[in-house]
């Protein structure tokens, strides 16, 4: 019985896919030399596939420079994809990104200061997508809608006619979120929305995002480097290293049974109050290699503490290994035939 139920659940979820990404590659060209020729590429995102379901929060986690933000930008078509496919529901959007999708997919950036025009009033900032995408023209209509939006993010009437510099960091981030909500989006891509904020303000924003997600049934793609944040707010998680996924699964899968060596190290590197996790800390040596000429085989092998135990780390690219229905890793098999 239970097996059938689980299958039903999965097929039900399949129907609810909002964004599908298949074999996405985004390369940035490097120009140089005498005639400013293309002399190489940075493989920012290298063969990545995932699904985003309605009403869920998918975390995209990794160190700086691993391509998290590039995935977000590519979905929004701010950066052209080199190859691969991106679908919104059933429509392909990577080569045909119309205004309609701009409404449905919105983004919140890391630094609220630089995403708000300092010379514009809050009404105009939040009203801009209403004018451009929704085609609203009457000022009174726009004001009414903006006030509605401000109220959903717990702000008040008197904030309508102020300028961005009059607000604190947390309030600015609320304004940015209100603007993202303006066109009733189905997906919001959040690029490190809380990393510029203090812990207590971060808590406010995370609570707000949870409420909004339930209220509007939003799918959130949450890009962050803070593992505890995603552990708190996320449903599923993708761990990235140098443009590739290394582990994916539900929060419980990844946080309680991390299997890929990089994920293990990343999880153990978090500073915690708990003295037990501190004792078995894995400290990685060296630094993230350059994405211009990444190491051969598995990109992680020069730093991998478990390299001795696996076969062919420096020769072959890692393969996708399923651990359970939801939990996958990219790694090489063990030498002694041990299972993951």
């Amino acid at each position: 019985m239970t097996v059938i139920n689980e299958k039903e659940k999965i097929s039900e979820r399949k129907k609810n896919v909002v964004i599908t990404v298949r074999n996405l590659k985004t390369y940035y060209p490097i120009f140089g030399g005498l005639f400013h020729r293309k002399i190489g590429v940075v493989k920012a995102v290298d063969d990545v596939s995932f699904d985003l379901y309605r009403g869920e929060t998918l975390g995209l986690v990794g160190e700086s420079g691993c391509g998290k933000t590039t995935i977000g930008n590519t979905i929004l078509n701010l950066v052209p994809a080199t190859s691969g496919e991106i679908y919104f529901e059933d429509d392909r959007i990577d080569n045909n990104f119309t205004q309609d999708y701009r409404k449905k997919i919105q983004m919140v950036f890391q630094d609220p200061d630089s995403s708000l025009n300092p010379r514009w009033k809050i009404v105009n900032i939040i009203g801009e997508p209403l004018r451009i995408l929704e085609g609203m023209k009457k000022r009174r209509e726009i004001r009414r809608r903006v006030l509605e939006l401000l109220e959903t993010v717990s702000m008040k009437v008197e904030h309508l006619d102020r300028y961005p510099h009059e607000f604190s960091g947390g309030q600015k981030q609320r304004i940015v979120i209100a603007r993202a909500l303006a066109c009733n989006p189905e997906v919001i891509i959040l690029d490190e929305p809380t990393s510029a904020l203090d812990v207590s303000v971060q808590a406010q924003i995370l609570n707000l995002l949870k409420d909004l997600q339930i209220e509007f049934n939003l799918a959130l793609l949450f890009i962050t480097h803070d593992l505890s944040v995603i552990q708190h707010i996320g449903d599923r998680i993708e761990v990235m290293y140098l443009g590739k996924f290394v582990e994916e699964g539900t929060i419980d899968d990844v946080f309680y049974h991390p299997t890929q060596p990089y994920t293990k190290a990343l999880l153990s590197a978090r500073p915690t109050f708990d003295p037990t996790t501190r004792s078995n800390r894995i400290i990685l040596e060296g630094e993230v290699p350059s994405a211009i000429n990444p190491p051969s085989g598995c990109y992680f092998h020069p730093r991998c503490p478990e390299m001795e135990d696996h076969i062919g780390c420096n020769i072959e690219e890692p393969t996708k290994i399923s651990i359970s229905e939801t939990h996958h890793i990219w790694c090489q098999p063990f030498k002694n035939g041990k299972k993951f």
Partner: protein, 425 residues
């Protein structure tokens, strides 16, 4: 084990602790008393640090934690007397090894900076000079503060060199005198000998070369394998982790008594942060340095620090050993701060939110500065400033809830609608 035996052991432990506590008092390194640093701006006086007192013992790591704008960094800068105009240290004393730093002349202060007390800043790219080689920057510290020691090394080397030069001279003399009596083969032998000796004589050492050698040593110490290569690189050629290691190397180069680290890992990734924290832990033991660790990350404090001071709006509100503080935070602000950190246990519940915002430091709230945001607020809280009391062994707190004199004051009734509103900031 019987109960009495257990009691005995506990009793003995307590005595030992008392002894160590007394011992530590004689080990006092830095004592900050009632420090006040104000900034005189056009809008008014910003009371960035308003009556802060704490002390650091030898070989101890003290954590200073608080939100943005609570005066953590200004406290650190005040210790080094680096507060820039319009800022000014108004009151208080900073005793370092029984010398009040605030009474020293600028010249004397400069001999302490970078020598006994050093500082690591948050952003290593901004604190390194972009047009000077990394090695030269580290070597500069030695040239500035350890010239005497470098000269000693040079003297020793010069003596050795002089010996060799003398030897060479004698050999040449011998060769000249006996030139006619020697056979061809013997002459050849002599020439080879002279050549070998010439090779052995090193270049005359100069200050900068010796300083660079020392720099190489210290850079190796902070876990950079190819130190020689790194010496000849510019800061922009190094990664974030490397730069921070160079900063730490500069900080530790004179084996300081006190190292002030101002958010040393905020600009770094988690895995690199773990490396740097591990390094600091090891170096602290190796060099017997005390560290004042300034951060907003309570996790780092729990990892690294022996004691913690929690700052709020220019005051220290709670000051205790890390163990006590994390096991049982007492001040409502500390409780709120710890409650705001996302974790697994809080997954299905909402995070605790401290109502309201950090107050303006020009017109800080009356009485306890935390009272407009405090859930445990008493009637007295907005009238009288709480005293900084030691309620337990080495557990200090500034809160009326723990002050026997005001404890009995009636609880303040929050206006529900008002509190509802003030949550939404």
């Amino acid at each position: 084990m019987t109960l009495t035996e257990k009691k005995e052991i506990i009793e003995e432990n307590r005595k030992n602790q008392m002894k160590s506590a007394i011992k530590e008092d004689s080990n006092l390194l830095l004592q900050v008393k009632n420090l006040k640093t104000y900034f005189y701006t056009e809008e008014g006086i910003v009371k960035a640090v308003d009556g802060v007192s704490f002390n650091i013992f030898k070989n101890e790591v003290l954590g200073l934690v608080g939100e943005t704008g609570c005066g953590k960094s200004v406290t650190a800068l005040s210790i080094l007397r680096l507060v820039r105009s319009p800022g000014e240290i108004i009151e208080g004393s900073i005793e370092f090894n029984n010398v009040n730093l605030l009474e020293l002349s600028e010249e004397e202060m400069r001999s302490h900076r970078g020598n006994d007390i050093t500082m690591i800043f948050q952003d290593p790219l901004n604190s390194l000079n972009p047009v000077i080689l990394a090695g030269d920057q580290v070597a500069e510290v030695f040239l500035l503060h350890q010239e005497e020691e470098l000269n000693k090394i040079i003297d020793v080397r010069l003596l050795e060199r002089d010996k060799l030069v003398q030897e060479l001279k004698e050999l040449k003399k011998e060769f000249k005198e006996n030139k006619e009596q020697l056979s061809e083969t013997e002459k050849e032998e002599f020439k080879v000998k002279i050549k070998d000796l010439k090779k052995k004589i090193p270049k005359a050492p100069n200050l900068k070369d010796v300083a660079l050698e020392k720099a190489e040593q210290i850079i190796k110490e902070v876990g950079i394998a190819d130190a020689k290569q790194i010496l000849k690189r510019y800061p922009h050629e190094l990664s974030g982790g490397m730069r921070q290691r160079i900063m730490i190397a500069m900080g530790l180069s004179c084996t300081p008594l006190l190292l002030i680290a101002d958010e040393p890992t905020t600009a770094l990734d988690v895995t690199i942060q773990a490396q740097i924290l591990d390094l600091m832990k090891n170096l602290q033991k190796k060099f017997d340095t005390s560290i004042l660790m300034i951060t907003h990350d309570l996790g780092i404090i729990a990892e690294l620090c022996d004691r913690v001071a929690v700052m709020y709006s220019g005051n220290i509100v709670e000051y205790a050993t890390a163990e006590d503080l994390f096991k049982n935070p007492r001040h409502p602000y500390t409780q709120g701060l710890i409650g705001a950190i996302p974790s697994v246990e809080k997954k299905d519940t909402k995070l605790t939110v401290i109502r309201g915002m950090v107050p303006n430091l020009i017109y800080p709230p009356s009485g306890c500065r935390f009272h407009p945001r405090c859930t445990e607020r008493l009637e007295i809280c907005d009238k009288i400033k709480p005293r900084f009391l030691e309620i337990n062994d080495r557990y200090f707190i500034a809160c009326h809830l723990f002050d026997p004199e005001y404890k009995e004051s009636p609880k303040y009734q929050w206006d529900e609608t008002e509190s509802e509103e003030s949550y939404k900031v």
